[in-house]
Symmetry: C2
Subunit: 358 residues, 2 copies
């Protein structure tokens, strides 16, 4: 999908395109719809458990029926669905994709490249209007995925992203341009070859980061952590409060496998971990506490409800390195508009400076 086809494909959007990340269990129908309603593309975070997806999609459909999004096409749902493919069920997902025709599916962390190709082919057959978005975190994966699946959009995730991603990686400042160059070279190898559109994810929470992502060559900008502080996000108050508290995101968050271990999440490949706010469990693990004891304390902490989050708590606060830029709760639609319009102002300001000062 060339960038200039974006508005043909998604007629309700405004550019620069702001995308709501498919945060598992957090981005459900209300959040995804608000992002799309504001001219972005919202993604439902279906994650690893496809059994609840029909219910979520029916909810989305009913919300949209009573309050449609202007300019959204009659035949597709103006939303995407995000799958964590190593856990998601293709047999459960496929009939839902065929029935609801989401605007996009977003694939991430497949068990194998072959399985990713199967998901892609099956989705295209079931719903030709549904665009294929695939998330990668390295140049090697960008090339492999493009060869195997010819996705419409590649989500280029930098290592500043919250939640799961590659253990080892680069920030978007290096990764997006290197992926763009590698894909251009790949496209040039084939007659009529066309590189997928890139969207940037990881460490972007406001207008300056969004403007930077566009400068790096992205055709859209993904917000995750920032949307945690919207009332539409399906998260505990304790979690949201911790997102608002954390500052100095490169210091207060860390990439680690500790939280997966405590939560009993065992399906992620060796190459993945997750970025979250440092808490007592992480510090204890670093100081040598055994996993069993740490897990017991984590499970006991769950009894505390919202008080279980925080720097001395043990509940996991998945969040990106941009968490320090998230300072207030704001409606998801307002966030999308603020970031989109702010990014344009940042770029206009720079060009104004350039005209007077260069």
């Amino acid at each position: 999908m060339a960038q200039n086809l974006l508005k043909q494909t998604y007629p309700w959007i405004k550019t620069p395109l702001i995308i709501g990340a498919p945060m598992r269990l957090i981005s459900l129908a209300p959040l995804a719809i608000e992002v799309s309603r504001a001219g972005g593309i919202g993604f439902i975070g279906s994650g690893t458990d496809t059994s609840t997806l029909e219910h979520i999609l029916l909810h989305a459909q009913s919300l949209l029926l009573s309050h449609p999004i202007p300019h959204s096409p009659p035949t597709t749902l103006p939303l995407g669905i995000g799958f964590i493919n190593w856990g998601a069920s293709l047999p459960l997902a496929l009939p839902l994709i065929a029935r609801f025709h989401p605007a996009a599916v977003w694939f991430f962390a497949p068990a194998s490249l072959a399985s990713l190709a199967s998901w892609t082919a099956a989705t295209r057959a079931a719903s030709p209007a549904t665009k294929i978005w695939i998330q990668i975190g390295s140049v090697a994966a960008a090339l492999a995925v493009t060869r195997a699946c010819a996705p419409d959009v590649l989500v280029v995730q930098g290592t500043d992203a919250g939640g799961h991603g590659l253990v080892r990686g680069a920030g978007v400042v290096s990764l997006v341009p290197e992926v763009a160059d590698a894909l251009s070279a790949l496209a040039a190898e084939e007659e009529g070859g066309k590189a997928p559109m890139l969207v940037a994810a990881g460490g972007i929470a406001e207008a300056r980061g969004a403007a930077a992502a566009l400068a790096l060559g992205a055709g859209g900008v993904v917000l995750g952590t920032r949307l945690l502080a919207s009332p539409e996000a399906n998260i505990a108050d304790g979690y949201r409060k911790e997102v608002l508290r954390a500052r100095d995101g490169g210091q207060s968050t860390v990439r680690t496998k500790v939280y997966d271990a405590l939560r009993g999440t065992t399906g992620w490949g060796e190459e993945y971990n997750g970025r979250a706010v440092v808490n007592r469990s992480f510090v204890d693990a670093g100081e040598g506490m055994g996993e069993e004891e740490n897990k017991r304390l984590y499970e006991a902490e769950m009894e505390k409800g919202d008080a279980g989050w925080g720097v001395e708590g043990r509940m996991t606060t998945y969040a990106g390195a941009a968490v320090g830029l998230v300072k207030e709760v704001k409606g998801a639609a307002d966030i999308v508009e603020e970031v989109r319009e702010g990014a344009v102002r940042v770029l206009e300001g720079l060009m104004g400076e350039a005209r007077t000062k260069l």
Copy 2:
């Protein structure tokens, strides 16, 4: 130093400002001068050993005498000097600063905040025309350093940077905006308070990254890794070749303390490590080889000369996550011009798109 004072302070520069990082042992007089000659600011990498600095400055002075930089002021050297403060000698540095009047000093990794304040005060007393640049990698450090030293420029180093920096950190996409906001808030606390200018370092090797850094709020852009592939950089051919070979920078480089240990560099604080290309020593360390054996193999490898670098080699290739964007050897002045002019074109292109498509 407000951004609009930049050209008053450094009359030979062109904006957007491109800065050559003070790479220890690598950025000596020839590289620093070429960066400044192209309208940037080049820094000599004096590092931890101040005993060679007089020789380097005399060399710079003689090169500049025979081939002056247009518009450079008669009383200051149109170059900066970078110190790694935990190792550098203030008694040796101070008379040289007083004698040569460098345009800037760049301080990094002091033994303490008090020592940093001493270096700052002594430099200002010895050479009022010399601007104080201080490198930080966190919001906390930005605030502490600004309170203690009121630097003219803060170098905001993201975790994608090559060579030494903080073990835990954020990319410039998150770090630069969060530092900018924190410093604005600090400046607002005091009457007439003025935030230092920010320049961005880490993961930037070409025009798109430079344009992104400006969008993030930086008033200048630091190149390090990219300049390793200039003929003016004082590095072994094997090192330069490895920089050109490495691709997929987030995967081929890693932040680690292994290389310091092998090289016997013991002065860095616990909070620092270095980003370098993955090689045999790193892999062996990860697979459990003892430090003594690994060091013995490293020292034997030194006999091999240029053949000691590479993925199966043991010589250290310090480089940032943008290393995959470095594909050819090019003169330092050409690199500076290409990145500066390219960044403006990137921004103009985005605004052109915005005008037709928004």
